[in-house]
Each structure stands twice: as structure tokens, then as C-alpha cells.
């Protein structure tokens, strides 16, 4: 199946939405609205995955990022004090801008200098099974098991945080 014009139009719309809402996250003073814009950005990235025939990854993007990480973020916002005041202005504004500019330049250089190759293979019928075959084969099984250790570390971190609060 070739990528038709519809898919490229969809890609550009969602790319623009993703970038605009991501910059909204940085620029808005109201941090709750900023978090909501972050969700919009996550969703449009999921849409980009859909145009790339990566439907499993798209569903995961919605489930984990829009469904779980955003909830975590909003919980964190509600835990903070004086949330109505919004983002206080930062003393490190100038160094921050400088670092941002350096990072942006680096990204642009990489982006321009990379030779982007498009896969000529036909997209798979079912991406889920192909993903699983790779994930549970000898190739990536170690990475898969290490992921569980990473998650365990996060879980223990949560426990320590929660216990530290009442001791």
C-alpha cells in the first residue's frame, strides 16, 4: 500500500498541531492548561504513528502517554502549592535560552545532514505479531527483561517516596 496524499496531509496537520501545542506547553502561564496542551501534543504524535502504519505503537502512545503519564502529571500539579500563580519567572532565563539555542542548532545540523532513507517494503498486515516476534526472540529478550528491572526501580522509588512522607 502506498502512502497516499491523504496520509501526507494528515501528517502535516498533525505535525503542526504537535509542534504548536508543545510550544503552548512552554509558553502558557496556566500550568493546568499547559498540561492539557501536552495531551493534545501526545495525541497528535499518536496520529503521526497511525500515518506511519504503526497502529500498535499509536495505541500504546494514547494508552501510556495520554492516558497514564498525563494523569500522573495532573496529579503532580494538584499536589503543588500556589498553583494559581502559574509558572514563576526563572532566574536562569538567559543561560536557559543559550542552552536551548545550542540544542536547537545541534538538532537542525543533525536533521539536515542525515540521509533520510525511506523503507521500500510494503507495510505489514499486523504489526503486533511482528513486534512480539522480535521482542521475545533472542535478539531483544534481554532488553525486555531489563525493562522489568527498570519498572521495578520506579516502583521502589514510588514506595520510598510514599513512605518518606509520613516518617
Amino acid at each position: 500500500m502506498h502512502v497516499g496524499t491523504g496520509a501526507s496531509i494528515a501528517f502535516w496537520i498533525m505535525a503542526v498541531v504537535a509542534v504548536v501545542s508543545a510550544s503552548g506547553v512552554i509558553l502558557l502561564k496556566d500550568i493546568f492548561r499547559a498540561a492539557l496542551l501536552l495531551v493534545v501534543s501526545f495525541l497528535s504524535i499518536a496520529g503521526i504513528f497511525v500515518t506511519l502504519n504503526a497502529d500498535f505503537i499509536a495505541a500504546v502512545q494514547v494508552l501510556i502517554y495520554a492516558g497514564a503519564i498525563s494523569i500522573l502529571l495532573i496529579f503532580a500539579i494538584l499536589l503543588t502549592r500556589d498553583v494559581q500563580e502559574g509558572n514563576p519567572s526563572n532566574r536562569l532565563k538567559i543561560p536557559g535560552m543559550f542552552m536551548g539555542a545550542v540544542l536547537l542548532t545541534a538538532l537542525i545540523v543533525v536533521f539536515v545532514n542525515t540521509e533520510w532513507r525511506l523503507s521500500t517494503e510494503a507495510p505489514l498486515d499486523s504489526t503486533t505479531a511482528a513486534l512480539a516476534d522480535l521482542l521475545f526472540s533472542n535478539k531483544f529478550v534481554l532488553a525486555f527483561e531489563i525493562a522489568s528491572v527498570l519498572l521495578l526501580a520506579a516502583m521502589i522509588g514510588a514506595v520510598v517516596l510514599a513512605r518518606g512522607e509520613d516518617e
Binding site: 496556566d30 493546568f32 492548561r33 492539557l36 495531551v39 495525541l43 497502529d55 500498535f56 499509536a58 495505541a59 500504546v60 494514547v62 494508552l63 495520554a66 492516558g67 497514564a68 498525563s70 494523569i71 495532573i74 496529579f75 494538584l78 498486515d125 499486523s126 504489526t127 503486533t128
Partner: protein, 418 residues
């Protein structure tokens, strides 16, 4: 591309592959309507109408049909609930408007439309108005991959069930938006509680699906129905079914998990400040979720549109959904509301371990009998489920100690001693 096929003639009436809505319903429900439509649109004048226009019109028609099934089903589910609750409490239920109160939903709708829509002055108005929208649209999207009959599906997604889980999890953002933007303490407390509850029960819900997926080897809902050709999954997965049912009623904020509507504590949760049609839209979202989830239960565990007797698929499907909805109403009329700490214990210490056990027992069974599970496993499964549930409930009962008695604040002690 489907448009080519439309332009060449009317033979297969399905206008999108995987979306034979007119094909299926046209033949079963309105004879030859699909054929007539096809001739009117493309078959008679190939090239006369632009292809994309045909595509757009038919696509919109299909989408509106499915979304409307959800939206129009809601008032009648509400009526069914009021009628049944009335019966459970030895009342008659609504019976004044129309025959047997059948027009009651219309009256309710008109009433909501003509009510004043108050937006609190202190509210974040934009977020406040968008919250019902964000709450409802994910619920409506849940209906897209549901197979109503063979091939009668709006979007035959390969990742079907994962898509549904993902989309429904986005509705919590709407709850937060409503609770936050109202600028009311009770709204925010309600939103926090609901999200904590939904988040806790989403894990067992997702894990209970894994057992079904293992039996089928596909995430696609049509394939899952096809996999239940002989035996519904309920018989192979009694433990998964129990976990899924409990998790779904928590996810829907139904009794006994209706902390959202714990009106003695929280007024009415995150939608305290909502009124008029915005409140109505939130109600539509809640009841549409009930319809959608009962459709998912029917598809995953009760063999979807398949049935033992020759009857059109969508009738079987609607029948099963109706049974499940009535079951939810029965539970609501019977079981009292749980406390927050009990709910959290049930989710994390009861359902989550059971869901994990279910996955590995299913995996073991499949490993032992890779060429198809033997029939004698069905009673074994049920006995095993009963034993595991009983043991886990016992452990939970011992573990979940009663809440500590809060000592009286010092003010009262001094008053008593003086």
C-alpha cells in the same frame, strides 16, 4: 481503493473494505436499500460524482449511524434503569409520559435543553465548556471497532481491543478538566477520587483482556468473535470474566463503586457545578460508556453477535448487551456503596493478583494443550475460579482491617474534662 470498486458498479455493496455496514444491514434490515443507494450514488453515473465525495458522504453516513446508535441508546438505557430500579424497590417507575413512560427520555431531553446553563464566574470558562466534550468523544470513539454483525463494523482495526482500552483511558482527562475548571472544592475532590478509582481498576481490566487475547491470538474484535465459534470465552475464562465485570463496573463508576455520586460526601463529584445541557452531555457520556462496555463484554466473553439459534447477528448482540446492562442495574439496586479504602484494597490486593493468576493459568493450559483446550477443562476452570476467588476474598478479609478509630480532637477532650 474502495472508490474504484464503487465506480465500477454495485456488486459488493460494502463501500469500504471492512465496513460492510450497508451490505449487512441493507440485506438484513432494509432489503435493497444499500443497492439503491449504490446505484444512486456511483453505479449509475460512474465518474459523474467525484470519488472523494462518494467516499465522504458514505463515510459520514456510517459514522453518524454508529455514533447515533450510542447517543440514541442512552435515553432508553436511562429509562430501563429507572423502570427496573422502580421494580426493585416495589415502585412502578416512570409511567406518565407516553405508554409505559416510553416518551420519558424525550421529556427529559427537552427539559435539559430549556434549563439555564450556568457557568460559574470564577470558573476557567474555556476548559469548563470543553470538559463535557472531552468526556464524551472518547466514549463515542469506543463504538468504532465494535462488530454489530458479521462485517458490520465501522473500523475493523487490527489492534481493536487495545484501541478501545487506550481511547477510554483518555476520558479521565475530561473528568479532571471538569473538576479543575469549576473552581469548587467538591468538584476537585470528586475528580481526584474518580481518577484514583478508575486508575486502580484499569490495570485488572486490561490484564483480564490478556487471557482472551491469548485464546484468540489476535487483538482484532472480529477475530475474537470468530474465535468463539463453538464455545464462548466465558467458559474458558470464568476468572477473567469475574475480574473484568468488577473492573468494568468500577470503571463506569457504577454502584457499588459510585464514589462519583457519593452525594452524602461530595455533592455530586466533578460535575457539581454543571447544569443544563452540559450536565446532560456528561450524563450521555456515562450511559454511553455503559452501552459500550456491555458491547465489549458481549464481544470478549459472550461470543458477540454469534448465537445458538438462527437470528440476525445484531439482534443477538443487542440482546446480550441488554442482559449485561440489566445485570449492572441489578447490582446497583442490591449492593451498598463501598468506602474508599475498601475500594482501593479490592482493586490492588484482590483483582490485580487474580488477573495475574488468570493469565498464567491460561498460559499453562494453552501450553499443555496447544491443539485446542479439551472440554473437561470447563468445569475445572469454574471450580478453580471459585476456589481462587474464595481464598483471595478470605485473605482480603483478614488483611483489610477495619479503619482505625480517629481519636477525638483535643478541643473536645478539654471541653469534656473542664
Amino acid at each position: 481503493m474502495p472508490v474504484d470498486r464503487l465506480a465500477t458498479g454495485c456488486q459488493p455493496l460494502g463501500f469500504w473494505d471492512g465496513m460492510g455496514l450497508w451490505e449487512q444491514w441493507g440485506i438484513n434490515f432494509f432489503p435493497r436499500l444499500g443497492d439503491t443507494m449504490c446505484r444512486a450514488m456511483g453505479g449509475a453515473t460512474p465518474g459523474g460524482i467525484p470519488d472523494w465525495l462518494i467516499f465522504a458522504i458514505l463515510g459520514l453516513a456510517g459514522a453518524f449511524a454508529v455514533v447515533n446508535v450510542a447517543m440514541l441508546g442512552v435515553p432508553y438505557v436511562i429509562l430501563l434503569e429507572r423502570k427496573l430500579l422502580g421494580r426493585f424497590q416495589h415502585r412502578v417507575g416512570p409511567n406518565r409520559v407516553g405508554f409505559f413512560g416510553l416518551l420519558q427520555p424525550m421529556a427529559d431531553g427537552i427539559k435539559l435543553m430549556t434549563k439555564e446553563d450556568i457557568t460559574p464566574r470564577v470558573a476557567d470558562k474555556l476548559v469548563f465548556s470543553l470538559a463535557p466534550l472531552v468526556f464524551v468523544v472518547p466514549v463515542l470513539l469506543m463504538f468504532a471497532p465494535l462488530p454489530w454483525a458479521p462485517h458490520a463494523v465501522l473500523a475493523d482495526l487490527d489492534v481493536g481491543i487495545l484501541y478501545i482500552v487506550a481511547v477510554t483511558s483518555a476520558a479521565e482527562i475530561g473528568v479532571f478538566m471538569g473538576g479543575w475548571s469549576s473552581n469548587n472544592k467538591f468538584s476537585l475532590f470528586g475528580a481526584m477520587r474518580v481518577v484514583a478509582l478508575v486508575v486502580s481498576y484499569e490495570i485488572p481490566l486490561v490484564l483480564a483482556i490478556v487471557g482472551v487475547v491469548m485464546l484468540t491470538g489476535s487483538l482484532n474484535l472480529a477475530a475474537i468473535v470468530e474465535g468463539q465459534r463453538f464455545v464462548p470465552n466465558l467458559l474458558w475464562q470464568p476468572l477473567g470474566f469475574i475480574v473484568f465485570m468488577i473492573a468494568v463496573s468500577a470503571e463506569l463508576n457504577r454502584a457499588p463503586f459510585d464514589l462519583l455520586e457519593a452525594d452524602s460526601e461530595l455533592v455530586s463529584g466533578f460535575h457539581t457545578e454543571y447544569s443544563g445541557m452540559k450536565w446532560g452531555v456528561i450524563q450521555i457520556g456515562e450511559y454511553a460508556a455503559i452501552i459500550g462496555f456491555s458491547g465489549i463484554i458481549a464481544t470478549l466473553f459472550l461470543s458477540g453477535w454469534k448465537g445458538p439459534a438462527p437470528m440476525p447477528g445484531y439482534l443477538w448482540f443487542v440482546l446480550k448487551m441488554g442482559m449485561i446492562i440489566s445485570g449492572f442495574i441489578w447490582v446497583r439496586a442490591t449492593i451498598p456503596r463501598l468506602r474508599v479504602d475498601q475500594i482501593m484494597n479490592l482493586g490492588w490486593k484482590f483483582l490485580l493478583p487474580l488477573a495475574l493468576i488468570n493469565i498464567f493459568v491460561t498460559a499453562g493450559e494453552i501450553l499443555a494443550y496447544p491443539d485446542g483446550l479439551p472440554v473437561w477443562l470447563i468445569p475445572v476452570n469454574f471450580a478453580f475460579a471459585a476456589i481462587v476467588v474464595a481464598v483471595a476474598a478470605r485473605l482480603l478479609g483478614i488483611q483489610g482491617q477495619p479503619r482505625q478509630v480517629v481519636p477525638a480532637p483535643p478541643v473536645f477532650e478539654t471541653m469534656a474534662s473542664s
